[in-house]
């Protein structure tokens, strides 16, 4: 051919000739393929898919690993209850009915009117499964007019300052109380403090103070958001043991006078132990509200479980000292307050840790130059600075709160810049000169315009929910995200403008203990003006897989989403890339190996041939998929390993065909002629034999691509795929894992159709060649 007429030019090397032959082959292939209608159909299909694969980043509607936002994935239902109108309500109070580890029960929602002193109690029962309002599942509503209901003489003074729910306890005799009509209330009204059972109208403790309190509070572990159940304990003197507690504490102060009450309340079936007492009173000026902490896990039996590091009365004195007393009233210590070495005073609510360890309180401090947070170690009563904020314009909001002691979350408001600053941090072990200590590493910080009205932390979701000054609810992820800038997600539930506070409702099972499903969690608000109270789901019911359509976030998912909220169209488009990668590479390698083995075996013959062909026989009968599965399970799944394994096990059929071709080619006159003119074995194989078997290799390659695509899909489908790539088989695998999603036809159809059509496309190309170039090949 071209080599013979190039007398003047240097003879082309074997390599150049091979390239030339391959080019000729490609041109010839194209002209033969054009003659076959099926082949052309296949070609068009493959080209279309190839375009999709190449343009994937451009045409995919979302980034590859995009997940639909929670707004779309969950349906946040809100249920409304109308309270008696013409009254102005305070923020709602919530409390569970049965002790916390018992899952049977309900929550009470208490709404009260301060001026008239009327309390409305409504049970909230878990009803998501039945898709009905949690308010309507029962009719045990209680209306309590505090001036008449308890028949106290003289009646408690008005207005009502604050209301608390007293959580029922586990008693030593195992008594848990009824699952619904259970729980106590405590309230400050005028100068009165009253602790009572609202179901039996029994006010078991009452005290009249000589001041009207401005600050009141309870020990937070007895509050509505508690996770530690109050429990009765056994206190022994010698051999005589008596049950003590369970204790709950309440404080009241007007800034100069402070009292602390101890209330002992069991449950509605054990009214004989209900009692209370004033344990502490003090006349000193305070800089911030006092605090009582009673963590049942951290107390010791020395004084009937009223001592130890897990309890205390904490009084932030205006002189920059923290007075610490046991809940019995015995003064324990005076801790001088400093922030980064400078004298400071407490400027807001003291925060706390719920878990047993480390027992720590969080003090928002302000010195002459800075604001900041310090922790108080309850074991040693020593102070440590956690962080400082520049300037003194910062005012802490709410209670700094830590669920486990290893993370905490607090909010500050700056009036000058009119923004709220959320700081969340996690605690890591750090080695210092004195040994291991804890260091708080800021996880995220976010500024929110305006003064946040109210916020709470949902540990189960790692989210903080807050009510902004514009009366919209947002939620913030509090998990370390790698960046310090966190964007709040707007919550698709909208309170009316009168709402000043949102409360954490926990689970309406009546328990707040243990790992709750995030779907069971609720929040509650009461609009003081319209007299409507609303319970809303914090996460909501899962709606994924989403059918095709437009969703609240404004996103449109043309082909719907999968269970995790991934866009099916995006995944499908990126799946095309993987299908091409696996199909082409695996087919290329297996055909390469097959051709090589076939040519060597056919050309050299004899022992080498026998050996290679026996190996081929063994490979031919190997159960392909089971072996691939075992191989993949040994090595860690990666797309490259999968390609390799498919290639290694896929070659024997091709080797057989190529060998038979080589056997016949070897005897053709043109090979003899080349050999006689002195061509080396290598030249014979590459220049004379290989170009003539390449069409077969090419044909087998196009037939094999489909097989490789299907095999990869099958591997991914069985869970042996590469988890880091988005493949069609993997999409179907996820579908089966969440078999509840079998109804999601928009998820089921695209990957399968993709596999079918792409593999069909390659197969048709192969068949097109098959029909035109080599009719003999049909006899496989």
């Amino acid at each position: 051919m071209s080599a013979s007429d190039s007398a003047g030019r240097p003879a082309p090397s074997t390599g150049q000739l091979v390239l030339q032959r391959v080019g000729q082959l490609a041109r010839k292939s194209w002209s033969t393929l054009r003659q076959s209608r099926l082949g052309m159909i296949g070609f068009v299909i493959v080209v279309l898919f190839a375009l999709i694969a190449i343009l994937a980043p451009v045409i995919a509607p979302y980034p590859r690993l995009y997940l639909a936002p929670d707004v779309d994935r969950f349906q946040n239902k809100a249920y409304t209850l109308d309270l008696p109108a013409n009254l102005t309500y305070a923020e709602p109070v919530l409390g569970p009915t049965t002790p916390l580890s018992n899952a049977a029960g309900a929550m009470w929602e208490l709404n009260y009117n301060r001026t008239a002193g009327i309390i409305y109690m409504n049970p909230l029962e878990y009803a998501v499964g039945f898709n009905e309002s949690p308010f309507l599942s029962s009719n045990y509503t209680r209306t309590i007019d505090i001036t008449q209901y308890f028949k106290l003489a003289p009646p408690p003074g008005l207005p009502m300052v604050s209301l608390y729910y007293v959580v029922p306890s586990t008693l030593l005799n195992g008594s848990l109380g009824p699952s619904l009509l259970n729980g106590g209330i405590a309230f400050f009204s005028g100068q009165d403090f009253v602790a009572a059972d609202p179901f039996s109208a029994n006010a078991f403790f009452r005290d009249r103070m000589n001041f009207t309190p401005t600050w009141t509070g309870e020990d937070p572990l007895a509050a509505g958001d508690l996770l530690i159940a109050p429990a009765q304990r056994s206190s022994c003197f010698g051999i005589i043991c008596t049950p003590v507690g369970p204790y709950q504490y309440f404080y009241a102060s007007n800034g100069t006078e402070t009292v602390v009450y101890e209330v002992q309340y069991g449950n509605a079936w054990a009214s004989s132990i209900d009692t209370g007492s004033r344990v502490f009173s003090l006349n000193v000026t305070l800089s911030a509200p006092p605090f009582v902490y009673y963590n049942p896990s951290g107390v010791t039996s020395a004084d009937a479980y009223r001592s130890g590091p897990g309890q205390g009365i904490f009084l932030p004195l205006a002189n920059g000292t923290l007075e610490v007393a046991d809940v019995t009233g015995t003064v324990r210590a005076f801790v001088p307050l400093t922030l980064d070495g400078a004298p400071a005073t407490v400027v807001g609510n003291i925060g706390y840790t719920q878990a047993q360890y480390p027992l720590r309180l969080y003090l928002p401090l302000r010195s002459a130059t800075a604001s900041g947070m310090a922790y108080l170690d309850l074991n040693t009563l020593t102070l440590g600075t956690m962080y400082t904020l520049p300037g003194t314009g910062w005012q802490p909001l709410g209670h700094t709160f830590s669920r486990t002691g290893s993370d905490y979350f607090s909010a500050w408001y700056n009036a000058t810049s009119n923004d709220t600053y959320f700081v969340g941090a996690t605690q890591v072990n750090a080695t210092t000169a004195s040994g291991i200590s804890y260091q708080l590493v800021p996880q995220f910080q976010v500024h929110i315009p305006g003064r946040v009205l109210s916020y709470f932390y949902s540990f189960e979701q790692n989210r903080v929910f807050f009510l902004g000054s514009d009366h919209r609810i947002f939620s913030l992820m509090t998990v370390y995200s790698g960046s310090s800038a966190v964007t709040p997600d707007e919550f698709p539930v909208f309170p009316p403008t009168g709402v000043q506070s949102i409360e954490y409702g926990g689970s309406f099972h009546g328990t707040l203990y243990g790992s709750l499903s995030t779907q069971e969690l609720w929040g509650v608000w009461t609009d003081p003006v319209t007299a409507q109270t609303v319970a809303f789901q914090l996460q909501g019911s899962v709606r994924t897989p989403l059918p095709p359509g437009s969703y609240p976030s404004g996103n449109t998912y043309l082909w719907g989403t999968d269970f995790f909220g991934g866009d099916i169209l995006t995944e499908w488009i990126y799946g095309t890339q993987i299908a091409f990668l696996v199909g082409l590479l695996a087919a290329f390698f297996s055909v390469g190996i097959g051709t090589l083995v076939g040519v060597i075996s056919g050309y050299y013959g004899k022992t080498l041939d026998t050996l290679l062909m026996r190996t081929t026989d063994v490979f031919l009968v190997l159960p392909f998929l089971p072996i691939v599965l075992v191989l993949i399970s040994i090595v860690s799944p990666s797309i490259w390993i999968i390609i390799l394994v498919i290639a290694i096990l896929g070659w024997p059929g091709i080797a057989r065909v190529i060998r038979s071709q080589v056997l016949s080619l070897k005897e053709r006159p043109f090979v003899d002629a080349a050999r006689v003119s002195g061509a080396s074995d290598l030249r014979l194989v590459f220049l004379h034999i290989a170009p003539n078997v390449l069409p077969f290799s090419f044909l087998y390659m196009s037939l094999n691509v489909g097989g490789a695509i299907i095999t990869e899909a099958a591997l991914s489908f069985l869970g042996f795929g590469d988890p880091t790539v988005t493949s069609w088989g993997g999409m179907l695998s996820n579908l089966l894992t969440f078999s509840g999603a079998l109804h999601a036809w928009w998820w089921l159809l695209p990957p399968g159709l993709g596999i079918t059509f792409l593999s069909l496309g390659f197969y048709l190309i192969g068949r097109g060649f098959d029909e035109i170039i080599n009719p003999r090949l049909r006899r496989r």
Partner: protein, 333 residues
Amino acid sequence: MASLGRYIVRRLIQGLLTLFIVTIIIFLLWKAQPGSPLDGLRGNPTIPKQTIAYVASEYGLNDPFWIQMYKYIVNMFTFQFGESITGVPVISIIQQALPRTLLLFGGAVVIEYMLGILVGRYIAWKRGSAVEGGVIMTSLFFFNMPSFWIGLILLYIFAFTIPIFDLGHFQDASFVLKHYPWAGTDPSSLWFQFVDVASHAVLPMLTLVLISSAGTILLMQTSMLEVMGEDFILTAKAKGLSERIVRKRHAARNAYLPVVTSIVIALGFVVGGAIILEQIFSYFGMGYYLLTSIETQDRFLAGAILFMISLLVIAGNIVADILYGVLDPRVRI
């Protein structure tokens, strides 16, 4: 017939040799798995070191590599598979699972080849018609479809949307009681048992037939077309034989040959398909147990199932070859 007998013996020897090599490969795979079979014991702090050492020597884990391989092969060939990690003897799991898989896939292969041969023969004769084009396109479509996807779609249609069949399992009396009142109410009766097993096998079997008959149809068609171009067909026609006779006696007879050999290759793929389909339909056969054993790193069970599958495929090959010999007059002479 003596030559046929010799042929069979030669194939048997070849098959045994192949099985031997496959067993070595299984052993190598078995050795290549990460960790040691003793890891479970070592992880348990209450088991003393001496016990572990005893177990190791008892199971031959301290033996040299070749000895271990020898023992493994001997045990495999004598069907001494040991115990699964659940404590159940592997052989009893296989005794339970194998008939199920054979029922499902034996049935599917028979139906598939009957269907494939009949349809392939028919469309070869109807060359150029619309029927041929339709059948070819449909077959090509199914041929390139992943089996598990068809399985899922069948589940979606016939078990999820219209609950004619159960969503899975090999047997489930409660489903039969609820949905097939005509099967009677006595779960121990033979008829009830039959309905139970059959109704659970329908969907996986249908999937297999849909997937694999496409290949057979295409192969039978091309094979028929080639045979029909041969001179002896022309001769038969020239003799004045009817079209039907020529098609059935002369053409089809000879066209069967490549189809029968294709069973050889198909068997391996059918077993592969079995694994996935048994997984989708929770059909507790060999494939299902293989997958479970791989996931739970149940070495003995996985090895034994792999061995049994290979044995089946090799045996199937031999049977196919012998059938070939019986069918092909040139081999018979």
